[in-house]
Subunit: 327 residues, 2 copies
């Protein structure tokens, strides 16, 4: 079976590990979010792509879900000694090497998709990992600037910051008023993306952040349309359980785009024009009717990715719902 | 007293430590060799400037004379895991940070001289460290290619390689036929270099490599002339003792430019038009007459930089010889 998965970082990567276990014979293509890419210390850093690659390739720091296992921080300490930051972004020594290789290949003229393929030649993630685009897209968040006093119009204290600054530096603890994938409207899907969608038997949205992960991928012109037009089941898993995100701070960016933090609201955010099936957590079984009323088939199953076995069970439920939709 | 020193890497850096101890009140400007600079992993590496900076700033690996103390090699190991080399150049994690800062500043438009000043703001070397030039100069060595068979003309197996490839990768163990500071003829002295020479009370050549360190600095148009025209004593210390270089493989590059590996031959290589005084080791006292016959005042003193005290004594001898020349 050919499965296409739209993935962000930790949530997407962990779901993919379960999906591989649930469907070992499948041909899985991952379309990875690059809206959270950032240039640090002159290096191109792709946090979501790397989280997928490290997680599936066995190099991830299991405890934190991002970055490398057995990591050290000598380079970062030295950069700080030179007064060079930002200090709030935790790049480890092993991780640095990935960014050095990527930056060097990009400087040599390779597109990000080719670079990602080269990096994966080492990690052997067992999936085909494609960036959503080779073009530059940067998710910015309009926040209340914590360092500025608001003006008489109540808005002068607002500032657009890189998603990582909002997410990692401010821990999403400052009010956010808008989320903008800068450059997405001019971006083209990376080579292979539309072809993979067109050839897919099923498309899955893991319990990734619906705004800044899956939403950013869908903001690249052509991808949403290709999924809607593929004529195959599109099934998602809710990242929200009982009114709160399972992990991360997805509620904050949902609020910024005017979406309630409930499993049903996220399903409506994707919309029945795109989504055929939606898994909510067993504890949210009461919302299934609301989702179905929106034209999206809904099932309530355990949605906590506590380990690979539990995650594989979720993946099996998603694939089962896809077959139900297809039939 | 205003002292200008032309320095390469380890020999120059260790001499400077002795000079600082010998003449703590002096204003020392170091003109550093940049001909051994190399781009590795997309980063600009300046081995000689860094060796001076780390040595005088207290960050040097004392045992090997280059690189950082308490160094780790996680980045290099990871790069090797990606199949990215060269593996023969030992860049440590702490050292990487220096190159990242430098590369980022250069990409932002700062000249190497400004970058070096910024890096020294952390290390406080106690001297003013100037690169010989802000322009790109790369010392290449014409070697017998160990991977090619010589042709009928006996020369087809020759190849020009970066100095670091000859020095570090091949350990100077392949025959060298020429040493060329590529780009030197088009280079301009960095800001402050000619001014420092013009204002100097004395100019010193430490026991650095006369071909690929001091020689490369002198190959930048204007620097040799400024030193010759400064009208102040110019005193050097022989890096050759008893027919062999004290450390390193200077004899190999001396042979490549047709100069014998003796203290007297190196003095003649610099020439009486440039050099006023020359210190040879006590064991080479017999060659003093030969040096003096070439028009260069010569003294035989202990020239082994075994520790800071011994090195400071050498520096005092050099300054004493300068005063003798001046008088």
């Amino acid at each position: 079976m050919r499965i296409v998965v739209l993935a962000g970082g930790i949530g997407g990567a962990r779901f993919l590990r379960g999906l591989k276990a649930a469907s070992p014979g499948s041909d899985i293509t991952v379309i990875g979010n690059t809206g959270d890419d950032i240039h640090l210390f002159g290096l191109k850093v792709c946090p979501d792509l790397d989280t997928v690659m490290y997680t599936l390739g066995g190099g991830i720091h299991e405890g934190q879900g991002w970055g490398r296992a057995d990591e050290t921080f000598a380079v970062k300490e030295e950069l700080a000694a030179y007064g060079v930051g930002p200090e709030w972004f935790g790049l480890g020594d092993r991780d640095f090497a990935t960014h050095i290789v990527r930056t060097q290949m990009i400087a040599a003229g390779y597109p990000l998709s080719a670079v990602t393929e080269a990096l994966c030649a080492r990690w052997q993630p067992g999936v085909r990992l494609l960036p959503m685009t080779d073009d530059r897209v940067e998710t910015h968040v309009l926040i209340d600037d914590p360092e500025a006093a608001p003006g008489a119009d109540g808005q002068s204290g607002r500032r657009a910051v890189h998603f990582q600054e909002y997410w990692v530096r401010h821990r999403a603890a400052v009010p956010a008023h808008a989320v903008v994938p800068v450059g997405a409207d001019q971006a083209k899907p990376a080579p292979g993306v539309l072809e993979a969608v067109a050839a897919a038997d099923v498309v899955l949205f893991p319990p990734s952040n619906p705004v800044v992960s899956v939403g950013t991928i869908l903001a690249v012109p052509g991808i949403r349309e290709a999924i809607a037009d593929a004529g195959v089941p599109v099934v998602g898993l809710s990242p929200v359980i009982g009114g709160a995100p399972v992990r991360g701070m997805a509620d904050k960016v949902l609020a910024a785009v005017g979406v309630e933090s409930t499993a049903a609201a996220v399903a409506r955010f994707y919309g029945s024009g795109l989504l055929d099936g939606w898994l909510v957590d067993s504890s949210d079984a009461g919302t299934a009717g609301e989702v179905e009323a929106a034209g999206i088939r809904c099932r309530a199953v355990p949605l906590l990715m506590t380990d690979v076995a539990a995650t594989a069970a979720m993946a099996r439920e998603a694939l089962a719902l896809a077959e139900e939709v297809r039939a």
